[in-house]
Point group: C2
Chain length 308, copies 2
């Protein structure tokens, strides 16, 4: 059963994120900029508005509650994470990558516009993410803002999300006739980089905004790692079981690409059991925070139970 | 005649940039990262090492001399600019963009590797640029580092370089049957965004590292704007006159794409005269700095006289 309290949280966060992104993605230039081309802004808005669960901002806001970080600051930091998430989807959908026509039930950016516009819209969103973090509204202390820049750059870069995407393409046998051997550890490592790093980022960023101590950061690290792994297994289960009309994107693609997932390696029952274990681990890790961690606990239950 | 002193500067800067990039682009992960995939690192190194004039770092270092900024700090900040420059070349060369096979006399990244790897290598370099700026070695004061993040993000984003690239594709008639009308102002605006913004960035960054006052920033702004415009006219003249073997990349592409340049609009003699005027403007703008501005003056003469 889906966790009702997190459903409510997600809806509230999604509305706030949508409003903030709508204001961010305009053709009105900021200081130091020229006018932003309308077609580029339209493509960025197509990718970023009107859809998405906004799970990452919801996680960042829930983590911010542990440290009394003002929610409007955490939200602004999480806009940067959403921009990185959005750019990664645009580029992943490109013909040279996963070649997807549909995303959240709508045409992907290169289908709604064209390939060149999609490449540039992704590039612009990735760049905008760091512009957002330079804004004093994220935190009046520049030291906190530059800490967020580092966290996001490492989560998204060649030792994080982009590196994971590269390993994922290699796992498809894209670059050699012989596909690389897959075991659980290898699959888990790819997933931790490809999706886990950007799920952990808003949580780490909230901890930095909250001046969390080492012990709290370590506890949140355990939580984020378990949650990211659980999220991916839930995603793989949906891919194995789901239908395109429910998920709003093509399913069964992993099988078609011949990619091993933990569902293949563990079976569906094994994968469900692993999902439960990871969820319990995540919730246990944040138990020391007490009642303040209710948001993060309900997030973990939501991820375990999600059907879309 | 090429300015000899700037030739020497460029050679020294290029050697230092090459060494620093070689150390930066390794598969050894930093804190908060997983192991970086070898193929991705190889593609990034292919794009970034063993070529390039390193004009942008040379400009940053010359500007740093005005304010006694330690050169090792300015150099590190300029690595971020080089990463952005390198990523933009990788993505611009893609089949969906300019579709180039050759860059600096070597295969472009998508030819030497493949298209997916090229997209990801560009994404990783753009992300790495901001990681570099988060490093205390750029400046011990976080306020200075976050100021550089903002400068670079605005120079590179949808109101800067990426926006200019979008307008440039539109100017080719890529998105509508009727090509947009071109006049001098429109062409100059596209070029100021597409190439001018990232030529100005290292100069603005050096001013921020040097805690320059408003008057000095304004003078450098005039210099950078004139220099960027001069650079583009020199580039257009090379494109119109040059041969592929000299420039190391395909030439005559602007004419083939039907794009108007200032050389088309002003004629070669008119463009040469404009180039001289802009160079004089750039040098006049920095005259108040006296002998310390010799590096920037010689850079302006170098740009005006360049043959490759």
């Amino acid at each position: 059963m889906t966790d009702a309290s997190f459903d409510h949280r997600l809806a509230a966060v999604a509305a706030a994120v949508e409003t903030a992104l709508d204001a961010l993605l305009t053709s009105e230039p900021e200081a130091g900029e020229s006018a932003r081309p309308a077609r580029l802004v339209d493509a960025m808005r197509h990718a970023m508005l009107g859809g998405g669960k906004r799970l990452r901002p919801a996680l960042g806001l829930a983590a911010a509650e542990l440290f009394d970080v003002p929610p409007e600051r955490a939200l602004r930091a999480c806009l940067a994470v959403e921009c990185v998430h959005g750019y990664s989807l645009i580029h992943d959908d490109l013909p040279a990558m996963d070649d997807d026509d549909l995303r959240r039930g709508r045409p992907t950016v290169h289908r709604a516009f064209d390939e060149a516009t999609a490449i540039l819209a992704g590039d612009a969103l990735l760049t905008l993410a760091f512009d957002v973090l330079s804004d004093p509204r994220v935190d009046p202390d520049p030291a906190a803002r530059i800490a967020l820049v580092r966290i996001l750059a490492r989560a998204a870069g060649f030792g994080g999300m982009v590196g994971g995407q590269m390993l994922d393409l290699a796992a498809e046998g894209r670059f050699s006739a012989a596909r690389e051997a897959h075991d659980e550890a290898a699959v888990a490592r790819i997933q931790a980089m490809k999706t886990g790093a950007l799920i952990a980022a808003p949580i780490q960023m909230a901890a930095a905004l909250g001046r969390a101590d080492e012990a709290d950061r370590a506890a949140l690290g355990v939580y984020a790692h378990a949650l990211g792994a659980a999220f991916q297994i839930a995603d793989d289960l949906l891919d194995a079981e789901g239908a395109a009309e429910t998920v709003g994107k093509a399913t069964g693609k992993d099988a078609a690409a011949g990619k091993a997932t933990l569902v293949d390696l563990l079976g569906r029952d094994g994968a469900r059991a692993r999902l439960e274990t990871l969820t319990a681990q995540a919730i246990a890790a944040i138990a020391p925070f007490g009642a303040r961690a209710e948001g993060l606990s309900s997030a973990a239950r939501f991820v375990a139970d999600r059907r879309v």
